[in-house]
Symmetry: C2
Subunit: 380 residues, 2 copies
């Protein structure tokens, strides 16, 4: 009789309202009904990303969206600058190389993010046609200063492509105001949906570059999506059920207000970080993202035992492990989407119990919980 609660940084828990919507009978997509639904969804997505740009919805994961952006919008006569400080940035380097682009990686220490000053310095060379940054690097639970980077890129001819997969709907994000040319995200994060949809907002500046490029791919050819979208349609069979759920989840999000969600998420993340610190544990990141928190395991904690046997099976709280060289060294927790203050307090309690069971010294049951409870008090 243990309830299962998903704190993994994607997929995240899906609200019952969305699950019920998706359980309704399927209907065909080459219909007025679909077009009307899709138009409403596109409005909701624009509002969420704070953009006037069209937002393309692709049946695929966030990776598909990022691949489409890099493949279709990066100029071939210039290099791509990729800020690299985690597993996801590594993937975008791989994508760029797959399409024969010259990718310049700017490596930063994991747990830190590229500085806007460094982006400025690099762009000053005039070598770059596009800059790729991960706003919230899920592997290191680290956020960069996307607004400041946007300001630097906007002064040049380059475009800014941002992986906002675990940032959109969670961290402050003003696409147009900040000059983020391409924002990519995925359904299974703050959108409160199962995986299966990628979202891409594309600016006129990015479309102008895309016009000059012969698309090197078919399914991820962004221009095809733009052409269909003008008629509230899609070029290939859409994931109708997920789009249906999206209409409900976007309504839920806008009922609360996007900015309210940003501030609430920040409170939940802070509560967890401070609770962990109060118990003597360390936050991995030097620039922690509020959408995902990475906590270093104290000496002697065995990752699989902690996460699977205790946290998940005994206390019903699923969290993620570390990636790459951080595997076994840290655990990660999502604050995205359908997670509320009561969930967050319960998670703190579960971590306290699990740490004690793993033999960590100095944990006092209820101490971190009290710290988190005080912070969460005024979450709204």
């Amino acid at each position: 009789m243990i309830k299962q609660r998903l704190f993994t940084p994607g997929p995240t828990d899906v609200p019952p309202e969305v699950l019920i919507e998706m359980a309704k009978p399927i209907f065909h997509h080459r219909t007025t009904r679909f077009k009307e639904m899709f138009a409403a969804v596109n409005d909701g997505l624009k509002k969420l990303l704070m953009t006037k740009n069209d937002v393309l919805t692709i049946a695929g994961s966030g990776t598909a969206g990022m691949e489409g952006a890099i493949a279709c919008a990066c100029p071939r006569d210039k290099k791509v600058l990729i800020a690299q400080g985690g597993k996801f940035a590594e993937r975008w380097v791989k994508v760029a190389k797959t399409y024969g682009l010259q990718a310049d990686e700017v490596k930063v220490e994991w747990g830190t993010a590229i500085s806007p000053a460094l982006v400025k310095e690099k762009l000053a060379t005039g070598q770059y046609g596009a800059v790729v940054v991960v706003y919230s690097e899920t592997s290191t639970a680290t956020a960069c200063d996307l607004q400041a980077i946007g300001a630097e890129v906007a002064r040049t001819d380059a475009i800014l492509i941002s992986d906002c997969i675990t940032a959109a709907g969670t961290l402050p994000l003003k696409t147009d105001e900040w000059g983020v040319d391409i924002v990519a995200s995925g359904s299974q994060k703050a959108f409160m949906l199962p995986p299966g949809l990628a979202f891409l907002s594309v600016s006129p500046k990015a479309w102008a570059l895309a016009e000059k490029i012969t698309p090197p791919c078919l399914y991820l050819n962004l221009k095809a999506y733009r052409k269909s979208l003008a008629d509230n349609d899609v070029p290939y069979t859409p994931a109708i059920t997920l789009i249906r759920g999206l209409q409900v989840s976007l309504d839920m999000i806008h009922k609360i207000g996007v900015e309210k969600i940003w501030s609430r998420t920040a409170v939940l993340a802070k509560a967890l970080r401070e609770a962990m610190k109060a118990q003597g544990m360390a936050v991995f990141s030097k620039q922690p993202s509020d959408s995902v928190t990475g906590i270093m395991y104290p000496e002697g904690v065995e990752d699989k035992k902690f996460r699977n046997k205790i946290m998940r099976d005994k206390w019903g709280s699923s969290v993620a492990g570390g990636q790459d060289w951080l595997e076994g060294k840290m655990f990660r927790v999502s604050h995205m989407g359908y997670v509320d203050p009561i969930d967050t307090l319960g998670l703190v309690a579960a971590i306290e119990y699990a740490m004690v069971e793993c033999g960590v010294k100095g944990i006092e049951i209820g101490k971190g919980l009290a710290v988190a409870a005080k912070i969460i008090k005024d979450w709204n």
Copy 2:
């Protein structure tokens, strides 16, 4: 994005596994398929109530079950002894009077329960054919010593009818060993189902009395249910969907083990009581039930504001108010069914927040939470 959590003492939260089962297409009940399902359910109910007696399943609320028991099994030539210390016991007096039975009420102060010694003393007069007790009086959150009362009644010719509506599957209950002739319960409590089913276990001693009585009612004539049950059937159209869900919830219950559920429930109830005491609040009952807890409001707390505006709307935690003269003076919380330790900790936090918002002095956010967390640590 506040999740709604139901801590009312019925209905209680229903697990997703049960909801999904109940969402499946309906089928007809005069079929082998229904009989097989009903046979499995009856086995599960017997195991839960620890009885060899058949357990009648009636489409109706717990009240319907209690009415059937009182109407069909109380001898007409003797009086009925009704232990009275709350709203539900009052109802059973009303039922007895409706059927022209001579009901002797033994009134006890609300928040206390009848003593086995008093039952013994009353029975010694030889005037009583049946004793009616509420095991867990939901209105006062008080439990009696059903085992000791059962031992007293078993020594006489009288039968013991027990309202176990909020006790079965929650408080220790060994129907046959304790000599409880009729146990009545309802689906929306520890059975983890929506309302709509009443359950009655009836002993041979009770059936022997029932045989001598011409049933004064049709739908609640227990003998009709017994006759059908011999063929794994029901006399009137059953609530097929609820029975279907019941098969799943009983499987979940027996997978954990009934006695394990009793001990876990006791820990959750203790955690809440001690957390409230640590914050200077008082438990109403002198013999608190572990299935429902009643907490007195500190000076100045307005019931509706506390429960609806703050607890439910702001923190997603629904609790019940007081009944009768306790209305506005107390709130009540269920520990039955689909509620786990993490839920209970979240509830404590919500109460702390709500008390502070209601202006209660001396509440320290996180203090009760830490007390509850320490108690819940070893809940399993």
